[in-house]
Symmetry: C3
Subunit: 350 residues, 3 copies
């Protein structure tokens, strides 16, 4: 059984095949109809979602599978994660919850954002791994504390198509922006790993104090080396976009949030000028804007960049649907089916 918690676990051939399959599904939306007829997909959302839930429901349905959405604490019990006697507010342990769902469903998607309490727990995706360990069926990460693989595949398929397969050597700026909240790092982590795997020249542009996790940076550098690209960093917002082919905006909080949240906040608020403006886009090499959404207009990016473009943000969102069909196909493999009732004795028939 294969999970998809992180693309780093998945070999290059499968990664490339998933990009191609996503593009095929984009070209022919009714392709693969009923490929997984009779399968059930449980979708567990510990956090809010618009694109992910809607596109997962449709991805499953369009493949013939039945999606069922579970929102812990809303219409169902809250789930306990800790060991020891359950005398608190939660009525059900994650072990039973996942155990039961994996009896009903042939796959489970789960969204489980960073708790923001323990850096190492978050960066190691400890809760996601606990969830997956309790499951007897494939688990798909719908954005965890540290990764967002569905977004990464969608973005990769968009970029590959945009550059007609020639992503290698293109300048990709992962551009930190200011945001009123200390957002988690799943998207920047996965974006960095995705762009480096495409062999792009990736620049992580962020103020001092907003570095990404060193383990993720190392993995990105290894991938860049393997795929002919590079990874570098800058703390200069004004020149970061110079000559870029892609400016991928994203806000995230600094690691100081785990140790001194007030310091992180005041450091962050000192960088309100880190916004992707039309002026900054003018310094690119006919660069395209990208963002995973939701995006705060006028905070993260100028309205005109979204409205007048060139921007790929709606294509990225659309490709979530196609990418997730590709991922479901990878997890379930074509042709695998439940035991069939054909040719058996039926007690309801004489």
């Amino acid at each position: 059984m294969t999970h998809l918690l992180d693309w780093l676990d998945i070999d290059q051939e499968t990664w490339v095949r998933c990009i191609q399959e996503a593009q095929f599904c984009a070209d022919y939306r009714d392709a693969r109809a009923d490929r997984f007829l009779g399968k059930a997909l449980g979708l567990v959302f510990f956090n809010d979602s618009l694109r992910t839930r809607v596109s997962m429901e449709l991805a499953a349905s369009e493949l013939g599978a039945k999606p069922v959405v579970i929102t812990p604490g809303s219409g169902t019990w809250g789930f306990a994660w800790d060991d020891g006697p359950m005398t608190g507010g939660e009525a059900e342990h994650i072990r039973e919850a996942v155990g039961v769902l994996s009896r009903y469903c042939h796959g489970l998607g789960v969204r489980l954002f960073a708790e923001g309490k323990d850096r190492q727990q978050d960066m190691d995706d400890v809760r996601l791994k606990t969830f997956a360990a309790a499951s007897d069926v494939p688990v798909l990460n719908l954005e965890s504390a540290a990764r967002h693989p569905c977004q990464a595949l969608a973005d990769a398929a968009v970029l590959d198509r945009q550059f007609d397969g020639h992503t290698k050597g293109k300048k990709f700026v992962l551009h930190w922006t200011w945001h009123p909240k200390a957002l988690p790092m799943a998207v920047p982590n996965s974006t960095l790993l995705m762009a480096s795997r495409l062999g792009m020249d990736v620049v992580v542009a962020r103020p001092d104090g907003f570095e990404l996790d060193e383990g993720v940076m190392d993995a990105a550098r290894r991938q860049a080396a393997a795929h002919g690209g590079s990874v570098s960093e800058t703390n200069d917002a004004d020149t970061a976009a110079d000559g870029a082919h892609i400016v991928y905006a994203k806000a995230w909080g600094g690691f100081e949030r785990y140790t001194d949240p007030a310091a992180e906040e005041s450091r962050r608020h000192a960088h309100k000028d880190w916004r992707v403006t039309t002026d900054r886009m003018d310094r690119t090499d006919n660069g395209l804007f990208m963002h995973c959404l939701p995006v705060r207009r006028g905070v993260v990016v100028d309205d005109a960049v979204l409205d007048e473009g060139p921007s790929l943000h709606l294509d990225q969102a659309e490709y979530r649907l196609h990418a997730q069909k590709a991922i479901l196909s990878m997890l379930w493999e074509s042709g695998s089916r439940s035991p069939s009732s054909e040719d058996v004795t039926d007690p309801a028939q004489p």
Copy 2:
């Protein structure tokens, strides 16, 4: 592309065909099964719903389409509507939200009640039009500030059937009733326009201070003139129902709510006797009771009117399902399909 925001935008031939299609779907519930296989319908509910959501989910499903329900602020982010930097609580702008959904879905339904802050904004359905403008796919009004076209078509189909096509000249009383809250005007507006389009002799019975919008009254008078009916008003609850064929009860708040809510409230509470009683029904010409539901028993109408009848309120609710199938067919047109994968090269096949 056609939206259905208001029936006033739709020509007479289409209106009549929709009534017939709704009646056909009522007679044969499995008609049109799979007509729109592979289509996705996004249903965005900014406000509560029972009939609308359930009947829309079923209408879509029974036509082969996949419905997906979105409840802004519950399981997904709240949406910002205003221009200017998004520094408030909402993480996503309606422009991106609708833009994304119209990439996933082939149609969008939206429920968006009156805000009650600005009379002209509400009567002009400004937010509904903002939503529709952001969509690349047909938008269906599931009750806005000023209109409820799904209810109007359902009611028209019920009335047409009830009078065997002879609605012209029948007396239709749109009967204001007391209610503890200042309810919005979408239903009375749409009901008035619907009955006048059927050529009925429409009487709007309401206390002084609870007049409907003059623009809606004018539109209704024009329709009555074109279809052989009439529109009049009365402020006498005791004689309003005399000789009526239909008593359509509905509570709504007065326009004073926009300028002096306390005055509106005390004016409204002076009319607690505006209830559809069995005595008032006895003064009709074997009249039938109608209500769009939900209805407050003993407040808007006597229990006996609902329980012993004759009343069409459950038929009206049922016809919502049939009417909405007719509307989806109008919006999507039979036979339009997504690009097909037949006869193309499939990367997953050797």
Copy 3:
């Protein structure tokens, strides 16, 4: 029309056939696919659910029917139950809500826990019966104040299979456990009635003050007599499990909760040692643990009993899906279909 509110209303032949059908559906999950194509199932949840909602959505879907979930007060109006003028917070009466849903749906499931205010109202399932009386279509009890028939059938199918049809004479201990809350009695009632109907030797082990309803005990004794089993009671936690084949743990509150909640609470908290421990399981005759879930680890049962077994708790949960397919088949009967549109004149065709 048949409802399923309580198995006591259903004859023995049907009960046995449902057990067999549940087991058949367990063996062949794709059996019965599309048996009820075109049907709609409304699922009304007044209370939280995990297993029930997910398994009902899948049971319906896998039979070809469309499930629609309604959560009163969340996305829809709250429902009023009482007679008299509706001047409170609820906008819709249960009579209209159910009346409307039974126009849309071919069956309605409803979860409606005990209110805990009036013992007789709860034990008589008064609100469930009010709901069912307002419906024109079959109503399925998804756990009411007094019964949980879906759980009972699932458990019966698991037990029948476990003992290869030889449940008669096996020792079945319904084992009360401590719990921080005074839980309702639907599951212990239905479990007792289920095990006695299988002819098992049922022991209700509970502290004094936690007796089950005498009417339920009487019904269980009558069933035991008819099916070759027995029903007895004990208040000794330490010897209750001796020689047992099944230890079915369940917490419930005492009837004192209706008259003196503080006394019930302090009486309950005096029995924190009523937990199914590994030591107690060691005194059984290779006994199996059962629980309907959700279960509080370390409170109701030792972790090791769940994790190392032998335990049937995940099988019980899984069989909910299979049992509910059997129940839907019983309620809808194979072959019944909506009026068909075949061979009729279609207004949309020339």
